[in-house]
């Protein structure tokens, strides 16, 4: 009896121990998770911003002042200490995000999330993310050990933080997913930069275009996908003189396009990834000082992609937005210059069809068989045995799709030639930009930048403004890489690169301003082939028109432009659509919405209903126009909005307007307007209860990096704007950092982003910028000129070296 009771008690204890010590279903191990001494209750706090911390390997003291925005102002005595401190502080405030982003980059999410991430991980590995990161580290090792040492210093700083962590101090996401942080390394910084490269230079439609070409033929393809639009207003002004370029464009070989159809495609970056930046010269500025602005449009996430810091040594003093994992300020200013980036997308990823020999170990190239190299990708999976994938590499790059992955062709494969695999010294560009004092040093810093290509805007206290489109660009023949190419012929390879000094740029143009908004980099006069890689056609015109509208501009004008909600796209099509509609065919409800949208003045403000109706209408319309491309068997794509609108207005009876499914009827654009309007009204009516004003209809949210885990995200943020609008805030995407810098001495700056400095959902600094950001407000950035105390400093932390080192 006693033993039976003991056995029962033992089983009870073991059972309860098991239940509380292990994840059950989606729940974390509850005993660990809720234990007040080590679980999430320990994360219920703000961050410490005072005291002394010992960091091994520091050469000298580092002072860190915090202001009311929890921005660390770092005063180090040398660059090694500076980047060690940056690594330490970034880990302190953003550790989970810092690490998670590199897991995502490396295709390691299965380790944390389990089997559901396996397909994603395989794609990332096959895309060559890890391979590219290794190339970058190898490049630095060989060419620039000095920069690599700084990257190592950053890693040491991150690790100094991780090493002193107790399990109780782990960020809450580790506790939720039940894993531990691992050591940081220079490879991880390289992976982070690969992640950015994928996000900004990973867009590619070559395979979809190849399918399209097979489906509709060359003539139609050219109609739907023109290289230039009639209204192109390029980044580098049209009148730029290119006569200094003495290298010709690569000659086009006599070659046939490989016609092929594929179902495969890689996960694509968000189509709206883009940005605005501009700078005006002193002559156009109300104060006589140049003013520069930047607002990168990225996914709206918590923790935010940006972490704002001041990073200084006695030799330099930089301030602005950093990215956890990368050294230095990415978009910001120092005492002499300011800089910012927008994406300068170019076609830097091309696909080659590979022909393998019978056992798949060799591939055909100029009539010979070349061996492939194999890279084994071992993917660890939470709660399961690891998955092993073998990726074959050709001289083009990794064979992403083959019989093992998303393709059923026995002896063919699709290899990716991507600038991300090229290796490079990206980190040096930012380390040098942070220290640059003038135009010459800015240009010198840019030369190291290979990808993702960016429009680097520049302004200096000396009065210069400039914009360089910097990246490493293949010198392509006319049309090269638009479609899948035959990988067995050397003439299809990238033949050479455009010499860096011939990258398009402009300095102090006569119009008094520079700007970029992801539009065409140049017009057709530029002597190298530039493929239309989905260039934006609306924001840039609103911005450039604005700067041509009057003589001088102030900070207030810059703020207004950032927050400008004018919908040029709607303004160019909607009046035409409204006129074409036969309103007699509308029901009473439809008539009401028709009247509502008729009075709309094309501003995407939150309290308007016009933008909601327009949005639903245009979406429905596009699906009707391009119904012939809605196919499941092969990957296709829709033409760009600008061309769609152009055709709707000028080719109302083109056969593409016809709806394929209605065999007995031939529709025109006019019919489509009516049909899509009726669809739009239906969609709107479904949302009528909650209201369909633009704020609610759009429902902007800032989502936590873990699939927008609702508890850690912010929803229904009242902010206007939308796609193709200067205030590019769509549902979960938009201005991720707004910065305005006036080049006074020292510069005066404003900045804000939709998040907060802390990565801890338990901190009040987690999302405290969001409301002001949505309201179009800015925070003054306290650019401290020395490490002495001042009234803006709330707390000071001193990082001290370990004694006797």
């Amino acid at each position: 009896m006693k033993n039976t009771k003991l056995l029962f008690a033992l089983l009870l204890s073991c059972g309860i121990f098991y239940i509380l010590n292990n994840p059950i279903g989606k729940l974390p191990p509850l005993g660990i998770f809720l234990n007040p001494s080590t679980g999430i209750w320990q994360n219920e706090k703000n961050e410490s911003i005072s005291g002394e911390i010992t960091i091994p390997g520091l050469k000298d003291l580092v002072t860190v002042h915090y202001d009311a925005q929890l921005i660390p102002h770092v005063f180090a005595q040398n660059e090694h200490d500076l980047y060690k401190a940056q690594g330490y502080l970034t880990a302190k405030h953003r550790l989970w995000q810092l690490e998670f982003q590199t897991y995502a980059a490396a295709g390691r999410l299965s380790e944390i999330l389990g089997e559901k991430a396996l397909d994603y991980d395989r794609s990332e590995r096959r895309r060559g993310m890890g391979f590219g990161a290794e190339q970058s580290v190898a490049f630095m090792k060989k060419n620039d050990p000095k920069t690599l040492q700084l990257v190592q210093d950053y890693a040491d700083g991150v690790n100094a933080y991780i090493d002193q962590l107790k399990a109780a101090d782990y960020p809450v996401e580790y506790k939720l997913l039940d894993y531990k942080p691992e050591a940081w390394s220079p490879e991880k910084t390289a992976l982070l930069l690969m992640y950015m490269t994928k996000m900004l230079a990973g867009r590619d439609k070559d395979l979809a275009y190849t399918n399209m070409l097979g489906l509709i033929g060359q003539e139609n393809f050219n109609l739907l996908f023109p290289e230039y639009f009639d209204i192109t207003d390029p980044v580098i002004p049209k009148d730029t003189d290119w006569s200094f370029i003495d290298v010709p464009q690569t000659k086009q070989p006599e070659n046939l396009v490989v016609l092929d159809t594929t179902r495969a495609s890689l996960p694509q970056p968000h189509p709206d990834n883009g940005s605005n930046n501009w700078a005006i010269s002193g002559s156009k500025s109300a104060s006589g000082r140049p003013i520069l602005a930047n607002d990168p449009h990225l996914g709206l996430n918590l923790p935010s992609i940006w972490f704002v810091m001041q990073l200084s040594t006695p030799q330099h003093n930089a301030f602005g937005a950093t990215i956890p994992g990368a050294l230095g300020v990415i978009s910001g200013f120092n005492q002499h210059i300011a800089w910012g980036e927008t994406n300068a997308t170019r076609d830097v990823s091309d696909w080659y069809k590979i022909t393998f020999n019978s056992d798949g170990t060799k591939y055909l190239y100029d009539g010979n068989w070349r061996p492939v190299t194999q890279r084994i990708e071992k993917i660890k999976i939470k709660g399961r045995t690891a998955f092993q994938d073998t990726v074959r590499y050709t001289h083009h790059g990794p064979v992403v799709f083959d019989k093992n992955f998303k393709s059923d062709k026995e002896r063919a494969g699709y290899a990716l030639r991507w600038i991300g695999h090229e290796g490079g010294n990206h980190q040096k560009t930012f380390i040098e930009l942070n220290k640059a004092k003038n135009y010459e040093e800015y240009v010198a810093a840019l030369q190291y930048w290979t990808a993702p290509s960016q429009n680097f805007v520049f302004a200096s206290t000396a009065g210069d403004i400039a914009l360089w489109i910097q990246g490493k660009f293949p010198n392509k023949w006319e049309g090269q890489g638009k479609f899948l190419m035959d990988g067995s012929r050397s003439e299809n390879d990238w033949q050479s690169f455009i010499p860096q000094t011939f990258n398009a740029h402009t300095k102090n143009p006569s119009r008094g301003f520079v700007s970029s908004a992801n539009q065409h980099p140049v017009d057709e006069q530029y002597p190298f082939y530039v493929f239309n890689d989905g260039y934006e056609t609306y924001r840039n015109r609103v911005i450039n028109d604005f700067f041509q509208s009057k003589d001088t501009f102030s900070i207030a004008d810059f703020k207004n432009l950032h927050n400008n909600n004018f919908n040029l796209k709607a303004a160019e099509l909607l009046p035409f659509m409204l006129k074409q509609m036969n309103t007699e065919l509308l029901t009473e409800v439809e008539q009401k919405l028709y009247n509502e949208i008729s009075t709309w003045q094309f501003n995407n403000d939150i309290d308007e209903v016009g933008p909601s109706i327009w949005d639903a209408w245009f979406d429905a319309l596009k699906d009707l126009v391009w119904d012939e491309f809605d196919q499941k068997e092969i990957t296709l794509t829709q033409p760009f909005d600008y061309q769609t609108i152009h055709l709707l207005k000028t080719q109302v009876e083109h056969k593409f307007m016809d709806i394929v499914a209605t065999k007995d009827k031939k529709e025109t654009a006019r019919d489509l307007f009516l049909l899509s309007f009726k669809k739009a009204v239906k969609a709107i009516k479904e949302k009528e209860k909650e209201g369909y004003d633009w704020g609610k209809f759009k429902g902007t949210f800032v989502g936590h990096l873990l699939q927008a885990l609702p508890a850690f995200s912010r929803f229904d943020i009242p902010i206007g704007g939308g796609r193709s609008i200067v205030n590019a805030t769509s549902t979960n995407h938009g201005p991720s950092w707004r910065m305005i810098v006036e080049m006074t001495e020292p510069p005066t700056a404003l900045g804000i982003y939709p998040g907060g400095q802390s990565g801890n959902p338990g901190s009040r600094y987690y999302d405290n910028f969001i409301d002001d950001w949505a309201a179009g407000k800015y925070h003054r950035l306290n650019f401290l000129q020395s490490d002495t105390q001042s009234e803006v400093i709330l707390g000071t932390q001193t990082l001290i070296p370990t004694k006797n080192e």
Binding site: K2, L6, F8, L34, N35, Q42, E44, A711, P761
Partner: protein, 121 residues
């Protein structure tokens, strides 16, 4: 001193001490040891450590959370989902700690019974 109160206080003290360097199951261990040293009878074997650790975990989590305006507790409580109510999360925390300790107490008591019988023989 009343044996129940003695057990209650000893469990509490030991749980607090052990939790400083052991994981969450320190509360099970604390209850087990206490139950062995200060044996109780009937349902008190379970409920005394349950209340002791239940209070410890509830009060500790309450203290941590209330000084931070329940910012995180509200979020975790909507994750679970407990309707975003931080007090429910505190209650759940206390209850789980209590159940773990209660089970430890029962095991400790049964060990005491079996081992003591053996010694008596």
């Amino acid at each position: 001193m009343n044996k129940t109160i003695l057990n209650f206080l000893a469990t509490l003290l030991l749980a607090v001490l052990l939790s400083m360097f052991l994981p969450w199951w320190s509360v099970m261990l604390a209850a087990l040891i206490t139950a062995y040293v200060f044996p109780l009878e009937n349902s008190a074997v379970f409920w005394t450590p349950f209340l002791s650790v239940g209070l410890y975990w509830s009060i500790y989590s309450f203290l941590l959370s209330s000084t931070n305006d329940y910012i995180l507790a509200q979020k975790i409580a909507s994750l679970f989902p407990l309707n975003g109510n931080p007090y429910l999360l505190i209650l759940a925390t206390g209850t789980l700690g209590g159940i773990a300790a209660g089970a430890g107490g029962v095991l400790g008591r049964q060990l005491e019974v079996v081992l003591k019988t053996k010694n008596a023989n």
